[in-house]
């Protein structure tokens, strides 16, 4: 902006009845920056800088101990991951968790939301019960599920007395049964969250369309397919994206239920990364895994958003 235009503006202000806010703000350009300063400086130092550090460290054989020099490796840590069987095992377990937890959370969350949507005197009460696991700390529920899935625990007792199994499964001592127990916790803790999002979305289903469909003789399933589903598509996209991000971030439940054991067989990417970094002090290699994980999550999130957008032209 030139000086003359500023003067013109000032002149206009003098004529206009009272100053307009835009011009007021121009005179104190520092104000918004002052509001941003403390928060953004902290954010830059403790979040943005570490992001760049993660990338940098992943290119080194990083030494945390003072005095030791870190050797530059280029992409060697990434190559190492691609050839590391345990990396792929952890990756496989993460994908197992993703597949075992996301569809049930979406389907069950939606079913409960649909059932809860209709008026009922005990609806607020039920909503609280379903949401309770969501607000409870991961540490507490992970230990609780470790106890429930113990050899002489409640799960084995229930399965044994009902005759579903012999009641003698060592759930946490094997790769797949361990992952199943961990996934059971994931579903149990997460259903209430997707239910809550779907409940809110169901409020936005146009009632007039619903009635029109009923008049046209559409049955429940047809109304669900033709009216409800399209109306909650944005919520569906949001839930899916968040659950995928959450599944790749599974850490506490694995760390506390099996510790990645036996012998690392139930490791997911983050428990493996954690042990590499803080057990073996492999900070460079651990960072490389963290960067790979971040990239996978970003690419998947963007791909899903695009997929949902392409289908109906609606931005979630």
């Amino acid at each position: 902006m030139t000086i003359s235009s500023l003067q013109a503006r000032a002149a206009a202000d003098a004529v206009a009845p009272g100053p307009r806010p835009r011009t007021r703000r121009r005179r104190f350009p520092a104000t918004p920056y002052l509001f941003l300063l403390p928060g953004f400086v902290l954010f830059a130092v403790t979040v943005v800088y570490p992001i760049t550090q993660a990338v940098q460290m992943s290119l080194y054989d990083w030494r945390i101990i003072g005095g030791a020099t870190s050797e530059f490796l280029g992409l060697a840590n990434y190559a190492r991951a691609l050839g590391d069987d345990h990396f792929w095992l952890s990756f496989g377990n993460t994908v197992f968790y993703l597949i075992a937890t996301i569809p049930p959370q979406i389907v069950l969350g939606l079913v409960v939301a649909l059932l809860l949507h209709a008026r009922s005197p005990i609806r607020p009460f039920l909503r609280v019960l379903y949401y309770l696991p969501v607000v409870t700390s991961w540490v507490v529920v992970s230990l609780l599920f470790r106890f429930l899935f113990a050899d002489q625990g409640l799960i084995n007792w229930t399965l044994g007395t009902t005759g579903v199994t012999g009641g003698d499964t060592s759930w946490l001592a094997d790769r797949w049964s361990g992952m199943l127990a961990i996934s059971a916790l994931g579903v149990w803790k997460g259903v209430g969250w997707s239910m809550m999002i779907f409940l809110a979305a169901l409020q936005g289903v146009p009632q007039s369309l619903m009635e029109a469909a009923t008049v046209d003789g559409a049955n429940r399933w047809q109304r669900f397919r033709a009216v409800t589903l399209p109306a909650i598509r944005a919520a569906m996209a949001f839930v899916t994206v968040m659950l995928v991000i959450g599944a790749f971030n599974v850490f506490i439940s694995v760390y506390l239920m099996t510790g990645g054991g036996p012998a690392g067989r139930t490791d997911v990417l983050l428990t493996y990364m954690y042990r590499l970094a803080f057990g073996d002090l492999e900070f460079g290699y651990g960072s490389a895994i963290a960067v790979i994980l971040t990239l996978v999550v970003l690419v998947l999130s963007l791909a899903q958003l695009r997929l949902f957008r392409d289908r109906d032209g609606v931005t979630p």
Binding site: P21, Y49, L115
Partner: protein, 284 residues
């Protein structure tokens, strides 16, 4: 279909619906009830079959042991102090940033906002390694201060987004009117914007407090000193690693004490929970 049969069908469906919903709710709540039962069960009876949902020989011994021998009150206070201070700082700083974004147009606004957005998309655990190195360099390891700084950092982006949404909904005319009366930006922010955004502040406060109260990975990474442990760390140590030597009664007594404040906060502020979730930015 006649009116009366339709009504009968409605009642039938309603009953089925309620049975299904109640069965599901029981599945949700049963683990908690069992946990409470175990917390009152003497340790020698913990893994007896059939499981006792109502302990035969109820005891307060587990609670006494958690309170006295296991130092749970100290860890409770640590968690309370860390969560309270982190929440206060985070909500203050992010509401200031949100005010700048909601009420001002300035060069770099988009860029700064996008940088915050990146911070939202990078999951916390992935930054553990570089944040640990940073904390080590500036001497924040093994201290409650180290928890506070990074808890604030981790919640800034989310709270800024949440509060910006709330602040943008408040009418700009009031802000402009105060401006004409000569109120400076800080006064407008403190006296006008914040009071108007109270529901948003409540939501941000509750979510941040609970996230800090429950946080595990970062505390696990930087805290070694027994005096600086938070509740999640202390409870995890009670449960040890193997299954055999664990005193589950004590673990769950401590867990119940850690969970009760969360449930109370949730029940009291339910409305704000729903609001926060629906504004689309929060995963509990």
């Amino acid at each position: 279909m006649s009116r009366s049969t339709r009504r009968a069908a409605g009642i039938g469906l309603g009953t089925v619906r309620h049975v299904v919903l109640l069965a599901g709710a029981l599945l949700m709540i049963a683990p908690f009830l069992y946990m409470v039962a175990i917390s009152f069960t003497p340790n020698s009876y913990v893994l007896t079959t059939p499981p006792q949902f109502v302990p035969e020989n109820p005891t307060l011994g587990n609670y006494a042991q958690a309170l006295d021998a296991q130092d749970i009150p100290r860890y409770f206070v640590n968690s309370l102090v860390v969560a309270t201070i982190s929440t206060a700082i985070s909500v203050l700083l992010s509401s200031m940033m949100a005010y700048a974004f909601a009420r001002f147009r300035f060069p770099g606004r988009e860029v700064i906002f996008r940088i915050l957005l990146v911070g939202l998309m990078i999951p916390a655990v992935m930054l553990l390694i570089p944040q640990f190195v940073l904390a080590k360099h500036v001497g924040l390891l093994d201290s409650l201060g180290g928890l506070v700084v990074f808890y604030v950092a981790g919640s800034l982006a989310l709270n800024t987004f949440l509060l910006r949404g709330f602040l943008e909904q408040t009418p700009a005319e009031l802000d402009e009117a105060m401006q004409m009366d000569g109120a400076n930006a800080w006064t407008r922010y403190w006296r006008l914007a914040l009071p108007l955004a109270k529901p948003g502040l409540a939501t941000a406060t509750i979510f941040t407090f609970l996230a800090c109260w429950d946080e595990f990975a970062w505390a696990l990474t930087i805290i070694n000193d027994p005096e600086a442990r938070t509740l999640p760390i202390a409870i995890r140590l009670l449960a040890g690693q193997g299954n055999n030597a664990v005193q589950w009664g004590v673990v769950f007594a401590a867990s119940v004490m850690a969970v009760i404040p969360v449930i109370v906060v949730f029940l009291v502020f339910q409305r704000h929970f729903v609001q926060g979730l629906v504004s689309g930015a929060v995963k509990g």
